[in-house]
Symmetry: C2
Subunit: 442 residues, 2 copies
C-alpha cells in the first residue's frame, strides 16, 4: 500500500477528548473514528488489526473443537422473558420496537438465543458435547461510554457456549476453553492470567477472568507473581492434561478486587511474591450448569429420560483487545508503539528520503517495496515528501514493527533495517525478508 493512496487520516496532536493511551493512539493514527457516543467506525489500519485478532481467536476456538455459527444482532424479547433476564437486565439493554410494535432488542450476549437453537436441534445426549461460538457485534447501552473502544456501546465479541450431559463433562469443556484462551492471548504476545472471578449477571459458580497487566486497567488485581511462570505449552486437549493445567494455575492466589480478601492474600502469598496492580479484562469464562437449560427447558434424551443440559459460556472482547494490546505495548512517553507481528496492520514499512525534484530514492524504495510484496509480505511504503524525521515520528506511532529506511547512501547489501525502538542494522534485502518471516512463523 502507498501511504499517499491509503485511508489513514493521521492527527498531528493527541486528541484532547481521549483520556487513556489506547484511545489517544487509535484516534491519532486514524485507526477508528467516533460516529456517535460509544460507537466507532473502524478505518483501514484499525480494521486490519481487529481482523487479525479475530482470526487468531477463531483458529484457537477451532483447534479445541468449537464450531462456528453466527447469530443475529437483533433478538426477540420472548426468549429473554423465558429465561427471566428481560426485566433483570436493566437499561444497558438496547430495547427496540419494530414497525409491527414487537419488542426486540440488540443482543448484549447470547445465552438465551443459543439455548433456543440448541433445544430445537439436538435431541440425544449422544450428540454431546456441543461447543458453539460466534463472533458478532453486541450492544450494551453504557450510561457513560468512555476510553474509546475499551468501554464503548457497540463492540465486537467472540462468545462461545458449551452443552454437556454432566458436570464432569461440562468441566472438561470448560477446561478446553481455558487452554484455548491461554493460547489465544499468547499468540498476541500478551501474558494473560486466569483469575477467579464473580459471575455477575451471567450466573453460575465457577468463573475465570483473563487479565493482562496494564496501569490503566479498570480491574485491581492481587496475585502471586509466580503465576506468570506457569507453562501451558505441553498441555493437550485431554481431560487429565487440562485438569493439571488448571491445578498449576490454581496453586497460586490470583483474584480481582471483587474476590479479594486481605487475610487470604497474606496467608497464601509470601511477601516477596505478592503483586498488587491493575489489569484489563480480555476474556471471561463461566460455568453455570442448568441455569438456562432449566428455565428454557433445554433437555436431551438420556436413556429414555429427559436431562437438562449443563452449560457454560466463554467470551473474548475482540474489538477491546485492539485497545488492550495498545495499553500493554504503547510507550506514550517516547511516543513509540510496537504491534506484535501477529496482529500488526503491516509486516513492515519502507521509508525513503524523498527530495523534491529527485525521484531516484523513491524509485529504489518502490523497487524494494515490490520485492518485499513479491515475497509475500504486507508492506506500507511512505511515498509522501515529508522529511525523514517526520516520517519516523509518524511510523513510530503506527507501530509496524519493522522499518526499512532508504537514505542517501543506499547500498543494496547494507540496507538500513530497524526494529522499532532498537538500533538499526545494515543487511541485505534477503536477510531482511528472512528475519521478518522467521518472526512471523514463530
Amino acid at each position: 500500500m502507498y501511504f499517499s493512496k491509503s485511508f489513514i487520516p493521521i492527527l498531528k496532536n493527541n486528541p484532547t477528548e481521549a483520556k487513556i493511551k489506547s484511545h489517544q493512539l487509535m484516534l491519532r493514527t486514524g485507526m477508528i473514528k467516533q460516529s456517535s457516543a460509544g460507537i466507532y467506525s473502524w478505518l483501514p489500519l484499525g480494521f486490519k488489526v481487529m481482523k487479525k485478532i479475530e482470526q487468531i481467536v477463531r483458529e484457537e476456538q477451532n483447534k479445541v473443537g468449537v464450531q462456528e455459527i453466527l447469530m443475529p444482532t437483533i433478538q426477540s424479547s420472548d426468549i429473554w422473558k423465558e429465561s427471566g433476564r428481560y426485566d433483570d437486565y436493566g437499561e444497558e439493554m438496547l430495547r427496540i420496537k419494530d414497525r409491527q410494535n414487537r419488542e426486540m432488542l440488540y443482543g448484549p450476549t447470547n445465552e438465551e438465543l443459543v439455548t433456543e437453537i440448541f433445544r430445537s436441534s439436538i435431541k440425544s445426549y449422544k450428540s454431546l458435547p456441543q461447543l458453539l461460538y460466534h463472533i458478532q457485534w453486541k450492544f450494551r447501552d453504557e450510561l457513560r461510554p468512555r476510553f474509546g473502544i475499551m468501554r464503548c456501546r457497540e463492540f465486537y465479541m467472540k462468545d462461545a457456549y458449551s452443552f454437556d450431559i454432566s458436570d464432569d463433562e461440562a468441566l472438561y469443556s470448560y477446561n478446553k476453553f481455558f487452554l484455548a484462551y491461554l493460547n489465544t492471548f499468547k499468540r498476541m504476545d500478551l501474558s494473560a492470567i486466569p483469575m477467579a472471578a464473580d459471575t455477575g449477571p451471567i450466573g453460575g459458580n465457577l468463573s475465570h477472568e483473563f487479565i493482562i497487566l496494564a496501569n490503566t486497567g479498570e480491574s485491581k488485581i492481587f496475585t502471586d507473581k509466580r503465576i506468570f511462570n506457569v507453562d501451558s505449552s505441553s498441555t493437550t486437549i485431554d481431560q487429565n492434561s487440562l485438569l493439571e493445567l488448571r491445578n498449576n494455575y490454581e496453586k497460586f492466589y490470583a483474584v480481582t478486587d471483587e474476590k479479594f480478601s486481605k487475610k487470604e492474600f497474606e496467608d497464601n502469598v509470601n511477601e516477596e511474591n505478592r503483586l498488587q496492580t491493575k489489569g484489563i479484562e480480555v476474556g471471561h469464562i463461566f460455568y453455570f450448569g442448568d441455569k438456562y437449560s432449566k428455565s428454557m427447558n433445554a433437555t436431551v434424551d438420556y436413556n429414555g429420560k429427559k436431562e437438562f443440559v449443563k452449560m457454560g459460556s466463554y467470551g473474548i472482547g475482540v474489538s477491546r483487545l485492539v485497545g488492550a494490546i495498545i495499553e500493554a505495548k504503547y510507550d506514550d512517553k517516547k511516543e513509540i508503539m510496537k504491534w506484535p507481528i501477529s496482529v500488526s496492520p503491516y509486516d513492515c514499512c519502507v521509508l525513503p528520503i524523498i527530495n523534491k525534484n529527485d525521484n531516484s530514492n523513491l524509485e529504489k524504495a518502490v523497487n524494494i517495496y515490490n520485492l518485499l510484496k513479491k515475497s509475500g509480505l504486507d508492506v506500507l511504503i511512505d511515498d509522501t515528501d515529508e522529511n525523514l524525521s517526520s516520517k519516523i515520528k509518524k511510523f513510530n506511532l503506527l507501530g509496524i514493527p519493522y522499518q526499512i529506511i532508504i537514505g542517501k547512501n543506499f547500498n543494496e547489501n547494507k540496507i538500513e533495517f530497524k526494529e522499532i525502538d532498537r538500533e538499526p542494522i545494515y543487511i541485505s534485502l534477503e536477510e531482511i525478508i528472512k528475519k521478518i518471516k522467521d518472526k512471523k512463523s514463530n
Copy 2:
C-alpha cells in the same frame, strides 16, 4: 468433521412454511434457523458457505484497489437529517431510542456515514480517488419478510463507496466495480448480467443491477441472449479497457421491468435473440455525483477552490447470494444440490457403509478421511450407522460436490468417487485428491 459431532440439524421433510427452494433447502439441511420474523441464525453449514462468499467478495474488491473499513450497525439520526433521507426512508428504517432518548437507527445503507467519515478525513483532491468498502449487517424492517434469507430483515451486505474529483474519474471508479462484480460472480459459477436499472432511493442517473437467471426470481428481465457471450477475461483495470467492457455489454439490450419498453425491446433485438425471463438481483451499483456531497458539504481542496466530491455506491448481498446460488443450482425435482467448489461448505465427503458390529469399513473410511485432511482438503465424513441410500439422499441435499463412497468391496486403487449427479468412477486416492484440487484452483 465427523457428521456425528457436527451441528447440522437435518429435517426429514421439506418445511411447509418455506415457499421457495432456497428457503426449503436451507432449513432442511440445517444451514439456518429462524430466530424471529425475517431474522436468522446461521448454523455451521450455512455459515461456512456465507464466509466463503464473503471472502471472494473481499478479494475481488481488494483487487481493484478498494480499501476495507467497518462502519457500525447503529447510526445517529443526525447525519440522515443532514442528507434529507431521515424522513424519506419510511418504515423500513428501524428507528431506535437509546437510554438518553437520542434518536438512533440500525443502518439500512451507509451513504451518509461514509460521507461523514470522508469529509472529516480527506482534505485535498490529491488523495483521490478513495474507494472504501465494508461488509456489515444491515437491517430493513420489511413489512412482509419472506423467502428465508432472500427477503429478510437482518442481512449481510458488502457496500462500497467511491469519491472522485470529476465525473470522468468517477466513471473510471464505477467501471472498476463493474469489472470486480463480474469477476466476483464468475468465481461463484454464476452468470450475472449487468442490466440498466432505476436508482430508487439511492438517487443518481446511472445504475446497473447484476442479475442471475432463476425461475423463482422477483425481477422480470428482458434481454438479448447474446449478452451471455460477452467476455471480460481480458479486461484490465485500465480506463480504456474498462470502457470497452462497458460498451461490449451495452451493445445488447438488457433491462428489468422497471426500465422495460416493448417497442425498444422489439426494435433492438431480433426475435431469435429475445429472452424474457426472471432473475435474482445479486448486486447493484449506482453513480449519483454530488447528491450526498452537496447536502452534507463534503468537499476537497482543488487548487484553492472547494469542490464537491463525486460519489457512487456499490452493493452486493452477501447473505442473499447463499440463497441465490441455491436457486440457480438446486434441482428440487431430483432433490440434488451441487455447490460450486469455491463456496461449498466442504470440499468432499466420505460415505462409508457401516454395518452394526463391524467397524472395518468405518476404519478404512477414517483412514481415507485423515489422508484427505492431511492433503489440505476440508472433509465431512458420515460416521453414523444410517444405511448408504439414506446417506446418499442426505448428502445429495447437502450439496458437497464430491462423494467418496466406501462400500463392501473396497479396493484402494479403485475407490468409488462420485461427482454429485454424475456416474461414479473408480480411481486411486491420489487421483481423487488431484481432481478436487484441480477443480479448486480453477
